[in-house]
């Protein structure tokens, strides 16, 4: 029953929260750039406008892939907030992203094609860190279940400090922010037209936007887990961290593909795997 409630709350509230965060993101960025910025609810107005537009496609079924992207992001997030196995959440999220990539391929257009290939390299870049995070949490809490991680009495961050850094590093990829916004980004600074989302418009583009909101909430949820021992602290950290990424987005230029890929893997290896090795070693020696 609680599970059902959690999933329903997520399905209903996550786009709202995600949209508001997106709006705050735009205002924050605008102020950093010396502009006033749009109203907070602008993302909702945008999505509403998109939903009212005519469907224009290159291939008839391209939108179906995006619908599945949205469905599986919701599925992954729902699993997460229902407290289920974090590894399955990660796998479902990867599945969702694969549908996005396939949809962009289906659009059979050169810009979406390059965007899709770059998105694949991005997936390849962030996946190790994401998996290591789940594994690290298992080593600390003894369970892969989010419910146990969230209710774990002690601060997970103390056991996984380096892992937290590795996870934050790849978050910019997930949030599509500089320096890792190679396949598509929110703002007007995209050199490949719109990358992955080039051929999508109207209702389909609205779906991508909404899926992004769901994903944002899910990723912030994982950040929350690191500080789960204190709900307010965790929420505060998640929010601060989100805005830190927005600020970095405004300050740093886009990285090259090689840098994105190699640095993500090296960070995942040294900080993620390193943390796991140290933790594992310490626990074998009985120190933890």
């Amino acid at each position: 029953m609680k599970v059902f409630l959690a999933i329903s709350l997520y399905i209903v509230l996550a786009p709202v929260i995600g949209g508001i965060l997106s709006g705050l993101d735009r205002i924050f960025s605008a102020r950093l750039q010396g502009r006033v910025g749009p109203p907070v609810f602008q993302p909702f107005y945008d999505v509403a406008k998109l939903l009212s537009k005519e469907t224009v496609v290159v291939r008839r079924s391209q939108g179906l892939y995006i619908l599945y992207y949205l469905i599986f992001v919701m599925f992954a997030g729902g699993l997460f907030f229902a407290g289920r196995n974090l590894l399955i959440v990660v796998f479902a999220l990867t599945l969702a992203d694969v549908f996005l990539v396939l949809g962009a391929h289906k659009a059979s257009s050169s810009y979406s094609f390059i965007g899709a290939q770059r998105e694949l390299i991005q997936i390849m870049s962030y996946e190790p860190a994401l998996l290591f995070t789940a594994i690290g949490m298992y080593l600390v809490t003894g369970s892969f279940y989010v419910s146990e991680m969230a209710s774990f009495g002690r601060p997970i961050i103390v056991y996984l400090p380096a892992m937290f850094l590795a996870f934050i590093y790849v978050q910019a990829i997930k949030f599509r922010k500089s320096p890792f916004d190679l396949s598509t980004s929110h703002h007007a600074h995209q050199e490949l037209v719109k990358g992955v989302t080039t051929e999508f418009s109207g209702k389909t583009l609205a779906m991508i936007e909404i899926a992004h909101w769901y994903e944002t909430v899910l990723v912030l949820g994982i950040v929350y887990l690191f500080f789960g021992f204190n709900a307010w602290l965790a929420a505060a950290v998640a929010l601060c961290e989100f805005f830190a990424i927005v600020m970095i987005d405004n300050v740093i230029a886009r990285a090259r593909l090689e840098f994105t890929f190699f640095s993500s893997w090296i960070v995942a290896l040294i900080f993620g795997m390193g943390n796991i090795i140290v933790l594992s070693g310490l626990s074998k020696m009985g120190l933890i």
């Binding site: 008839r60 796998f91 479902a92 050169s110 290896l269 795997m273």
Partner: protein
Amino acid sequence: MYLLGFLLVFPAIVAFALLVLKDDAVRSHIVKAAAVLISLATIAFLVDNFHDEFRFYNLGIKSIDTGMFVVEVLLAAYIFYLSLKFKRRMVTLLVVVQTAAMIMLRVTYGNSIVVANDFFVDKLSIVMALIVGILGSAIGLYSIGYMRDYHKAHSDVRDRRGFFFFIIFVFLSAMFGLVLSNNLLWIFFFWEITTLSSFFLIGYSRTEEATWNAFCALEYNLWGGIAFILAIYYSYSFFRIAELDRLMLMGGMGGLIPVALICFAGITKSAQYPFSKWLLGAMVAPTPVSALLHSSTMVKAGVYIILRFAMVLDNLAIGYVVAAIGGLTFLIGSAIAVSQHDAKKVLAYSTIANLGLIVLCGGIGTYEAMWAAILLIVFHAVTKCLLFLCVGVVDSEMHTRDIEDMTSLITRMPRVSVMMQIGMAGMFLAPFGMLISKWAVIKALVDSNPILLLFVVFGGSATVFYWVKWMGKMIMVVEPERDVEIGVGGEMWIPLYTLTVLTVLFVGFLPLLSKFLIVPYIIEIYDRTITMSHGNIFIMLVMMGLILAFPLAVINYGKGARIVSPYICGANAEGGVAFTGAFGRKREMEMKDYYIDRYFGEALLSRVGFDASFVLILAMFVLAVL
């Protein structure tokens, strides 16, 4: 007992029949009948044996040993002659060494070797037998149509189809023998038969390239064969053990040298680094050969034998070294697959990589790892077989194996490309079997040796890349093209449909498979087991349901949408096919996948893999001796 005998003897009889009959139509009928009979026999074998924990059978016919010895020597002599004829010195040397070892063994112990039980049937044997029987039959069926097209397309290759099918069925016989035998000498005999089958089939077309690669495969596998013979020699002379089950039970108590030697043999046969080259070269063989020997069955024999000793390797340093060899192979194999254009090479590297995962599990040897390993064997065998057969059809009809030529395959070969997508999804995507197996591997590693996780995690990420970019290429449609699927024969469709359905259904059947075939085996050995929670099974089924709804939804989705050309900055010249480029010239739109040869190139990474694994192999033997 009779079913077992049937499985062993019937394919051999069929083989000889196919060798002597010249007529193609008669051969087709025999192959079809044999395929059906073998599949049914295998299923009957499952039903017959699955109640008991394990069964032993004993033939007690001494002359079989002698017969095997005679055949071995004759075959060795033939190979000796061939290696001299083609000037393959290394092969000559290895054959001589191996034959000498065999003869010494027979001479020293000869008739005094009394084996308590010749055959041993437990759940793992049943699983392997099912794979051999069902996939072997499917591929046999497929080969009828494939080889017909092959000889039409390659008129320069002499038609030796009788010999081809002869070897295929002899191979099936040998595989059954290998997974059902307990007598180590018999396992060795069947092992060598599979090596030779591989040799003859790779060299089928008799081109220079094929011959070279056939000898390469033979050479690498002979190293394994020598190790095997040495293992038997050691185990019999020191412990008077010539049975697999007794060697397994003895475990590490008598020293790990036989185990290390047999693991070495398994490593060569399953093309782990540093012995991967032969499997890549084997891709010149006709596709049924690649599917049967070099992905689904023969190479599985290599990992099967390592898995037999998994619980011996549990928690030992040498086990971790074997696991590291597997893990390294997984990582390097997956990385190299990113840079490959040739579809069969991508599949080959993927095979090597996934075998590496299984070896990784074998080296870890915990009950969790075993569960993951057997799941991997089953899912990989089925899915990879499907992929190879599909690529074979594409090759047959379109005469290309280059991924770049498979753009828009969805319009040219709709059914085949959908099957390929299911196969590819089956290799790495949730909720298909391989993903569940990978999940189990992660769990097993986290509980035993987390350092090895780096292989699985990084390798797994590379996996997503090379499969999805291939999938994307196939669904892209720049301009609709003619459907060429009509030329595909009926015999080829049956295996393709069957395997596709199996790939999908297996996810649903996974709990049943686990409960009835895998878990009992694990309990037999470890006295404990893992179970998938009902909640997770439900989640997987929901995901599968959603994914299955996809092809149904495609039919109706997007009706009424306005169709436009893709965006080419307004310079569209011919819809989305071409654009107006510099100097007003019309240029064709070309979209090629990333292959990133600079970082994922074969030369560089193979070198790394070879060197690192060489060190690991040395470490393995050093640890065994200490």
